[in-house]
């Protein structure tokens, strides 16, 4: 590997002059001259960044650009000497989510001008990239990406196999059905990009110290106080963990552990000698996901690696059991990838091998990178876990994190990448080891709607798990919690159903349809125990006062009422969307989405004054939640409790402790998260089985049955209910999603986000949550919408969908999404009025095919079985599917 270090990087430290200088060409001879003189570490700094790879240098670069100067970057070895040095240097914008796509696009633009900015040769070559499809399904997947790229203004084409052959002379196209060509994708020398970023940062005043390793971070009063290194202590306000595959361990080294769930796997790629007729340096990079490989030109030869089905995780026990440089080549392991390479480029048979490089890459439990602030230790930021796309994301991710630190939040909604989407429960070494073995192959696997991870399952379960499983439940997982998707009726072919991986109509279609029907006509039970539940109380009025400040709706309601409310940020955006029941004058019961457990807790902790006197308890584990949905729910419950449950006695949005069967103290709320009539029962877990049995027995005569989240999802989407995490995020305000009625601007006291909302109320909103009914969409034959599809208004791009479902009642597909108004010439965002929405002709783009859609700003009132006052209509729901 020593040779390789010199090949990929040719920049060295000049001790005398603390700037970075790139040498223009490859010099294989002595590349390391004298040891750099160790400059003493400063005693204090505003920011200490740990890790001199692409992430650390990118954060340093962007922070210093944004005006923060007092920054120290520490690297345990040499700059860009870890994964960054070994990685293949492919900058690819072909990403499946728009956030990742934006990061990659920014990175590409940044790297392109970096050489000019810094004078360091970054090896940037615009080669373009071609993603190949061997199957129709793969082509659909590529078309979906292409749709996204186009609306982002990134040039991109779906091309035929013949066109592939014209773009690349070596490719065997016989087994291809098509491909996607992205002409502006590029290659870089990743180490040099890092060094260029470091050079620029250093010019902006960032101090860089190599051969300095961080042992741990010490905290004071829940804030970062200092960083301990092997060369002494640095006091600081902010710490940024960019330690790559060591980030997990570094996070755990301090007194206050920061859980950063990631794990390394070995990753192999091949380097060859040049071809007889050396390959052009601008030859497009080939990605062949069905063959699980990528191929780029490299010094006249090729560099080709891939993501095998049977990855080899390593460093489970921690660092330094093996040095990265000493990892073994494993040709037998590489064999399937080599076969794929030779199948794709048979002409390479005679090409001579130079080396098989083993370069560990870091993977996360959900294949998305990790950034953001620790929920427990303020000032502790993280950027790591790049799932083998560090170079593509490096620039954008560094920018977002820098914005986060400087402005309090990035310019994009980064919740999908937020460290707080994880908690301690994802940081078991065994869990990570098993999960990343599934994640790494996933990089090449087809991304079909609604797949579920198979590893790391059955961690959190409801007490009813076995009962439901025995009745045919099919499970998905959220935040470690097993939740039912649907129930396979007895007699159905089970094997078939588990293979339901398609972009078209899934085979659970009829099953979910009958569950929905039962919700509409009789009564269904859905176990919703995964929801995050907090109890918030105080001895005096402190709880109410503080909650009134933190939530936008008026919580000063009579005891026993339930309030739907947003927990907004200063900009009026949803940090959380929840239901709060007032249990007594001084105590509240708060229900939030499952994956809010860490984020919401941290937000409340951080926003409550230290001496607030408010007591918070996470009681998620204490209650099993059963959602009884349907017109007969009222009958079942009244028979079981001998209490009248009709609307006069138990109005909507009401909460009461009562007995159900033998069990007392069941917290019953008249909400269902679907807009259907019914109740949610919060049952202390030891009563769960009893209550469930009672409900099922009693329900029999009312036609009760089990149902899953897919039914819930169809019900809530057809009623235009937005779910946090799916439709709502920190950049969406209640005004933009038709929830003004859940905001009490005049509740007599200030609350977070109030000013922003007032401003919007006066001047209007720039995007509006809209419901689309697909017309002339053949459910059986056409591709199904999913989420993230571009919306076109009068032929012009106007936004994206955020969720979609088939409505069994309307017998149409319903998509939810945000419509924006871009100025025709300047592209500037303009105010979106209801008229603007109503006067447009809409189309939804599903994998390149456009379907006409009817836009609506209000749900179909016919869908609500009971007429209720508008105030009472429960317009809220949770959960992101």
């Amino acid at each position: 590997a020593g040779m390789l270090l010199r090949l990929l990087s040719d920049v060295r430290w000049r001790a005398a002059n603390p700037t970075w200088r790139g040498l223009p060409c490859c010099r294989r001879s002595a590349s390391t001259t004298a040891e750099p003189q160790a400059v003493a570490l400063p005693a204090q700094a505003q920011v200490v960044i740990c890790g001199g790879g692409i992430m650390g240098t990118s954060v340093a670069y962007h922070l210093s650009k944004m005006g923060w100067k007092d920054i120290v970057l520490l690297e345990q070895g040499r700059l860009a000497a870890g994964t960054t040095r070994f990685c293949a240097g492919i900058v690819s914008t072909a990403r499946h989510t728009s956030l990742e796509l934006k990061m990659a696009d920014y990175s590409n633009k940044l790297y392109q001008q970096l050489e000019q900015e810094t004078g360091v040769n970054t090896g940037y070559v615009r080669t373009g990239s071609i993603s190949l499809a061997q199957t129709q399904d793969r082509l659909i997947s590529l078309k979906r990406v292409a749709s996204s790229l186009k609306v982002m203004g990134i040039p991109c084409e779906i091309i035929t196999p013949k066109q592939v052959a014209q773009l690349h002379p070596l490719i065997n196209i016989h087994d291809l059905v098509g491909a996607m060509y992205v002409p502006e994708d590029a290659l870089v020398s990743s180490a040099n990009v890092s060094l260029a970023l470091a050079t620029a940062a250093s010019r902006n005043g960032v101090q860089i110290h190599e051969r300095t390793s961080v042992s741990h971070v010490s905290a004071q009063k829940g804030r970062v106080a200092a960083v301990e290194t092997d060369r002494g202590q640095i006091q600081c306000q902010y710490f940024v963990n960019c330690a790559g595959q060591w980030a997990y361990e570094l996070g755990h080294s301090g007194e206050e552990p920061v859980h950063i769930p990631l794990h390394a796997c070995e990753h192999f790629y091949l380097l060859t000698h040049p071809l007889k007729e050396p390959l052009a340096s601008n030859l497009p990079t080939i990605v062949d996901p069905d063959g699980r490989i990528y191929i780029r030109n490299w010094q006249g030869g090729i560099l080709s690696g891939g993501f095998e089905k049977n990855p080899k995780p390593l460093f489970t026990e921690g660092r330094n059991q093996l040095e990265i440089q000493n990892l073994q080549e494993d040709w037998d392991h590489f064999e399937p990838l080599l076969s794929a390479l030779l199948r794709r480029m048979p002409g390479l048979e005679a090409l001579q091998i130079m080396q098989l490089v083993n370069c560990p890459e870091t993977f996360t439990p959900d294949m998305r990178c990790i950034m953001g602030e620790s929920p427990t230790l303020r000032g502790y930021f993280v950027l790591a876990g790049m799932n083998s796309a560090g170079i593509s994301y490096g620039g954008g991710a560094g920018k977002y994190l820098a914005e986060w630190m400087v402005n309090g939040y990035p310019t994009e909604n980064v919740w999908p990448l937020d460290l707080k989407r994880f908690g301690t429960l994802q940081s078991s070494r065994t869990f990570l080891r098993h999960r990343v073995m599934e994640v790494m192959p996933l990089i090449c696997d087809l991304k079909v709607p609604r797949w579920d991870f198979q590893t790391g399952r059955q961690l959190r379960t409801s007490p009813l798990y076995d009962r439901l499983d025995a009745q045919g439940a099919r499970w998905m997982e959220k935040h470690g919690f097993e939740r039912v998707k649907y129930f396979v009726p007895p007699g159905k072919d089970l094997l078939d159903l588990d293979q339901s991986k398609t972009f078209y109509k899934p085979d659970w279609f009829d099953i979910v349809g009958s569950e929905v029907k039962c919700c509409k006509e009789a009564v269904c039970v859905i176990d919703m125990s995964s929801f995050t539940k907090f109890e918030i109380s105080s001895t005096g009025d402190q709880a109410l006062e503080n909650l009134q400040y933190l939530f936008s709706n008026d919580l000063d309601v009579p005891v026993g009422h339930v309030v739907h409310t947003g927990m907004l940020n200063e900009k009026g955006g949803y940090e959380n969307d929840c239901s709060i029941a007032r249990l007594s004058k001084r105590s509240f019961f708060m229900i939030s989405p499952t994956d809010q457990q860490v984020h919401c807790w941290a937000w409340l902790k951080n926003h409550l004054p230290e001496d607030s006197g408010v007591v918070m308890e996470d009681v998620t584990w204490k209650y099993t939640a059963l959602n009884l949905i349907g017109p007969r729910a009222v009958d079942v419950l009244s028979e079981l409790s001998y209490a009248p449950m009709t609307a006069e006695h138990f109005p909507s949005l009401f909460c009461k402790e009562m007995s159900v069967g033998y069990a007392n103290g069941i917290r019953v709320m008249s909400i269902t998260h679907t807009g259907e009539p019914g109740f949610v029962l919060y049952i202390p877990i030891e009563y769960a089985l009893h209550v469930y049995n009672e409900v099922m027995n009693m329900g029999q005569k009312y036609g009760i049955r089990n149902a899953g989240y897919y039914a819930l999802r169809s019900l809530r989407i057809e009623k235009f209910f937005a779910f946090w995490g799916q439709d709502l995020d920190a950049f969406t305000t209640p005004m933009e999603c038709g929830r003004e009625f859940q905001v009490k601007l005049e509740k007599g006291m200030q609350f977070v986000g109030q000013e922003a909302l007032l401003e919007q109320k006066q001047h209007g909103v720039y995007k509006r949550f809209t419901m689309f009914i697909l017309e002339e969409h053949d459910t059986d034959a056409d591709l199904w919408p999913w989420w993230g599809e571009p919306i076109f208004r009068n032929g012009r791009y106007a936004g994206r969908t955020t969720s979609s479902a088939y409505s069994y009642t309307l017998e149409r597909h319903v998509c939810l999404g945000f419509v924006q108004h871009f100025h025709e010439q300047t592209g500037q965002e303009l105010v979106v009025t209801p008229d603007f929405i109503n006067q447009g002709e809409y189309e939804i783009d599903i994998a390149g095919q456009r379907f006409q859609a009817k836009a609506k700003l209000y749900p179909f009132s016919s869908l609500f079985t009971q007429r209720r006052r508008k105030e009472e209509v429960e317009l809220s729901g949770y959960q992101r599917e």
Binding site: E317, Q321, D332, L341, L348, E349, A350, Q352, I353
Partner: protein, 454 residues
């Protein structure tokens, strides 16, 4: 009648079991990598048994094969009980005390053994209380005896074997009020079993053998070839020393009648065994027990039958011969097998077949390009060939299965002949025993890196 290859495989693999000692990222501190075991019945039901367990209160792993005769009752009992006796014999005084106190006060017991069992390897639930009480009496005596000395493995093995056989004998004499149990203990005592047990702790390997099962070490020579090293002596008529021993223990007058037709008293093949009280008890005792015993016993001609020339019992002992071997890096594996294997295969062939199997599967040398000039095509060819070798030749994932395949299916050229294999496996029940014996094999694989580091 012809079996297809998948049918053959399903028969051969029905009883296979593999255990890998848990490792952590390629680091395995145990000298044992794991073991493969399998058995192929000829009798119906099979009379062989096998056991494997890890000692939890002391270090080391126990593995054993048991060949039953005159039924499987004794082999079954020994396979359940012997390792507990060994483990208890090895326990230090304090641990014994701790266990006894736990039992006394009804607290949870320290687990003594972690079993590694195939689902077909069962334990008899009914007798567990009885067996436990006998075991407890044993450790209570050990506590009383407290010698204060550290336990010698060889001595512990001998004591455990003898004690268990003694308990089997006693339980049959005392009987049990429960008629089912009463019949069971008599069945155990009147049937017999040989035992070949290995205790591995680091580089210390002890083999305790009673009877004609065999332990053999597979050694890889410097040139890569394989040789066998016997770690047990068969206790049968072919073993001169054994014949001498038996003769020494009885008056000269019996010399002629002691061994006839290569059998003990003209009846028993192994010269040492558990159970078989017909060769151990006095005639009076046998008669008394049989008469007072249940009807089934009385109606059984075999149990009532007294061996001819039966003058000075006991003629049979369960005392094992213990051999110690310090493992060396070249000692790659250990084979424990009942005589069913050794009758059909020479140990040299066993060493070669297992050795080549294990190295083929696990130790194919990794390829390194180094400074050589290799093209992608050449490398691809090489890798495909390596893969094919693994896939075709080694269709077995279990070394014991592989060995059985050879033992049953080998033709005169020493390679597996499918037709022969198919014939041998499709023999009707009543004929099977004529062509082959029950076969039970355990192949233990050693970790040379760990052994080399000692």
């Amino acid at each position: 009648f012809y079996l297809t290859p998948p049918q053959v495989n399903s028969i051969l693999k029905a009883n296979e079991y593999s255990f890998k000692v848990p490792e952590f990222d390629g680091k395995n501190v145990s000298s044992v990598l794991g073991f493969d075991s399998n058995q192929l019945p000829a009798n119906a039901p099979i009379e062989d048994r096998r056991s494997a367990a890890t000692c939890l209160q002391t270090r080391g792993m126990l593995l054993g094969v048991f060949d039953g005769h005159a039924g499987c009752a004794c082999a079954q009992a020994v396979s359940e009980r012997l390792f507990y006796y060994i483990a208890v014999s090895l326990l230090p005084h304090e641990t014994l005390l701790e266990i006894e106190n736990a039992v006394e006060s009804g607290r949870a017991l320290l687990p003594i053994l972690q079993w590694h069992k195939h689902p077909n390897d069962y334990f008899s639930k009914e007798a567990s209380k009885l067996y436990f009480n006998s075991l407890r009496t044993y450790w209570q005596e050990l506590i009383d005896l407290n010698s204060g000395e550290t336990t010698d493995v060889k001595e512990a093995l001998i004591n455990a074997f003898k004690r268990l056989d003694n308990d089997i004998s006693l339980e049959a004499q005392v009987g049990d009020p429960n008629s089912f149990l009463n019949y069971l203990v008599l069945q155990v005592a009147f049937s017999g079993a040989t035992a070949c047990v290995a205790h591995v702790d680091g580089v210390d390997l002890h083999i305790a053998n009673t009877g004609d099962s065999r332990a053999m070490l597979g050694v890889q020579e410097e040139d890569g070839s394989w040789s066998a090293l016997n770690l047990s002596y068969d206790h049968n008529a072919q073993n001169e020393h054994e014949v001498q021993r038996v003769k020494m223990e009885h008056p000269k007058s019996e010399e002629k009648s002691l061994v006839k037709q290569d059998r003990l008293l003209g009846l028993l093949m192994p010269f040492r065994a558990f159970g078989d009280v017909k060769f151990k008890w006095s005639i009076e005792l046998q008669k008394r027990v049989v008469e007072s015993g249940p009807d089934q016993l009385n109606d059984n001609e075999y149990t009532k039958f007294i061996p001819p020339n039966y003058h000075t019992p006991p003629y049979l002992t369960a005392e094992p011969e213990v051999i110690y071997h310090r493992l060396r890096p070249q000692d790659k594996f250990l084979v424990l097998a009942t005589d069913g294997l050794w009758e059909t295969m020479h140990r040299q062939d066993v060493a070669r077949i297992v050795g080549e199997y294990l190295t083929g599967v696990h130790h194919q040398q990794p390829i390194a390009v180094g400074g050589y000039k290799v093209t992608l095509g050449q490398m691809h060819g090489l890798l495909t060939e390596r893969r094919a070798r693994i896939n075709s030749v080694f269709e077995d994932q279990n070394a014991a299965t592989h060995l059985i395949r050879h033992a049953v299916g080998n033709n005169e050229f020493g390679s597996v002949d499918h037709e022969r294999l198919s014939k041998m496996l499709s023999l009707p029940e009543e004929l099977a025993r004529m062509y082959r014996d029950d076969m039970t094999i355990i192949v233990v694989q050693f970790n040379s890196h760990v052994i080399g580091a000692y």
